[in-house]
């Protein structure tokens, strides 16, 4: 039990993070693509395609954070101080994103909040990528507490991760728009999706090569035998899905490109897990080092098993309720 529980919890938190990245990913992606819209009515169409969901989508971020606090308090207590500045910048950007979304509809001149929506979505995304990069490149720990400086995270690698995530979220946003809207917005999104797909692949390749070059332990993980025999399918499947995603976008398909993008994200996440397991705070603290006491993990796990299916049930219901496309000009003017 003592051995399994942290693994189960790592899986639960991994799920929350993946859910967040995908679901708020397309919200943030739409913010990133905002300046490419031609006029106010197109921008309304874009925001309307996510209006009923964005609040629920963002809640996965709270589950991720709270989950870390519940199950791995010692990791939470190291990661947050270590990545203090990017985390706070991300939070403030998310504050602006959320209110810009609501406020742009009330103000007489929307331009200010349109810009705010774009800037805050982009900043939040870069900050999330930097947090991820900062985690992968390692955090210095002494006696179970963070022992580095306030700018340890600020490396070219971390910023490369930030830009990769911008491309990734924008791709999610573009394929979401292809799926959920009609007219010029959907048309333009299709063109953007192609470019973004290329960008995402370039960034994925860059980060995938940079990581093992920087971290011998990760190179060892992937390229030592026999690991390599088991792991080569990961890049292979990624390439295959990317190829099909391209074909589907070309063919004007609506739903498959979005699903393919999700698959790319899942594979990227799988790659991360392979590289870093069992470390939660690379390169020193594992899931077992940082786990909460079993009594707490079990108590919360029971609640999760009971409540998460209900939560997923009504989230699914709301997505179903607002199914269908947002039509062109189906806005409030």
């Amino acid at each position: 039990m003592e051995w399994y529980l942290p693994l189960i919890w790592a899986a639960v938190i991994g799920t929350a993070v993946v859910m967040y990245v995908i679901m708020d990913g397309f919200d943030l992606g739409i913010g990133i693509l905002f300046p490419t819209a031609r006029n106010e009515s197109e921008r309304d169409q874009m925001t309307r395609s996510i209006a009923p969901y964005w609040d629920g989508n963002e809640t996965w971020l709270v589950l991720g954070g709270a989950g870390l606090f519940v199950a791995f308090p010692k990791a939470y207590a190291v990661i947050m101080p270590a990545l203090y500045l990017p985390v706070i910048v991300m939070l403030i950007a998310l504050v602006f994103r959320g209110v810009a979304f609501e406020f742009r509809h009330v103000s007489y001149s929307k331009t200010g909040w349109n810009i705010g929506f774009f800037v805050s979505s982009t900043v939040a995304t870069v900050a999330q990528g930097v947090v991820l990069g900062g985690l992968i490149q390692g955090i210095s720990v002494r006696d179970g507490a963070f022992s580095g400086g306030p700018f340890d995270w600020a490396t070219p690698f971390a910023f490369a991760c930030g830009l990769s995530l911008v491309a990734g979220y924008a791709l999610l946003g573009a394929t979401w728009l292809t799926m959920k809207t009609e007219g010029p917005v959907a048309e333009r999104a299709r063109g953007q999706a192609k470019m973004l797909l290329v960008a995402v692949l370039v960034f994925m390749a860059l980060v995938s090569l940079w990581t093992p070059l920087k971290q011998p332990r990760i190179a060892e993980r992937w390229f030592s035998l026999p690991n390599f025999y088991f792991l080569w399918p990961v890049p292979f499947v990624t390439a295959l899905i990317a190829y099909y995603a391209w074909r589907w976008i070309e063919a004007g398909r609506e739903v498959p490109p979005f699903l393919a993008t999700i698959a790319l994200f899942l594979l990227g996440f799988l790659g991360l897990v392979i590289s870093n397991f069992p470390y939660l705070v690379p390169p020193s603290l594992t899931v077992w080092d940082t786990a909460a006491t079993p009594a707490s993990q079990i108590f919360m796990l029971l609640g999760t098993l009971l409540l998460l299916p209900i939560v997923l049930g009504y989230i699914g219901f709301v997505y179903w309720l607002f199914r269908g496309k947002v039509r062109e000009g189906e806005s409030y003017h």
């Binding site: 870390l68 519940v70 010692k74 207590a77 500045l85 963070f146 009594a295 709301v318």
Partner: protein
Amino acid sequence: MDFDPVLLARLQFAFTIIFHIIFPSFTIGLSAYLATLGCLWLRSGNDRFQHLMRFWTKIFAVSFAMGVVSGIVLSYQLGTNWSRFSVVTGNVLGPLLGYEVLAAFFLEATFLGILLFGFNRVPPWLYVLSAAAVAVGTAISAFWILSANSWMQTPAGHELRGGIAYPRDWLTIIFNPSFPYRFAHMLNAAYLTTGFVVLAVGARYLLAGRHIEEARTMLRMAIGLTAVLAPLQLLLGDQHGLNTLQYQPIKVAAMEAHWDGSKPGDFHIFAWPDEEAGVNRFAISIPRGSSLVLTHHMNGLFPGLSSVPASDRPPVKVVFFAFRIMLAIGSFMIAAAMYGAYLWWRGTLFETRWYLRVMAQSWWIGFVAVISGWVVTESGRQPWIVHGILRTADATSPVPGASIAGTLALFVIAYGIVFWFGIYYINRLIAHGPQKVAAETGRFSPSPISAAQDTGREALQR
């Protein structure tokens, strides 16, 4: 430059959580009000209730958004500002917050989607049910977070090993000694706060001679509610204080600025506590008032501040004055609600303009009372972050003061902008008022506020 990281971390946390609590105090009450209006609409079929519900829903949307985004900040700040606290209490507090997310936040956020955008897509009963789900969600959220906070005031059900708290009995942890009082007092505070906002808006319309029917309904509902809840709050607060006296006597001593425990306590209407000398200056007091309230006895004794070393005392002035503000507002609320009920009974409520004018200006009193109450509770707990277990000074993160100062400045700027725009937009929504046409034009609207703006424009063009 030299920054004190502990002080800055406290300032930053106090700033962001005070900003946050403004919105829950309103949305907990308002969502319950929306659900009530919805039920009345379903039962009576009277469209007035529906117009009111749709009107307040727009205001709810803006407040809720600000509550959510500021709350997300908090859930990460426990780690960024108080990492040592997270390690010491994670085993116990973690699950309480986890349950809050799973049982409450998803419920609110998801059904909010239906409440804001589903009016033309779902049958009326499901629309009203969504409002009720949001209201229940906010109350559950308050349940868990207050349980966590109460455990920090009166820890129970745990054991300490190597300085780290481990859970022993979850029920004792959740229902720790101060929790029932705090939950009742805070929930009631949220309903009262909302009641006075609704009262103010109704009074404002009546004075302007607009939306007369809706305004009267708002006034009646608000006075009916507050006339019961305001006196109840006094009762709950009194019981809460007795409980605090039992578990955190020094906090109570600070609330009453009571220094010498060997003498009965006076109730100071005003005083200037001198923390250096350990006496009160310029005191205007009711002799033995505090002893009477706290011990139900003229000569009753309770511990004084001087019984502990200065390093174990909370900041007396802060606690003392914040408590006075809460009491003053509480008394004003009782008087206002009772007088309103009296006018209603006399049948002159809608014509007594001076009363309406005062009430129209009183929308903010609940918020100030809530913030003062929390300052009493949290500052009164100092120097402890978890009473008797961990001191605030030992709970911080290894983050340099300059980082905290920089981000504090960012928070002040960002929240400043968001707050003033939010107030400005809410005020504009209120100025537009409930719209009778809005509900019938089955048009999908991307945001509740935009719907408000449209109908506002329509009304102007007409």
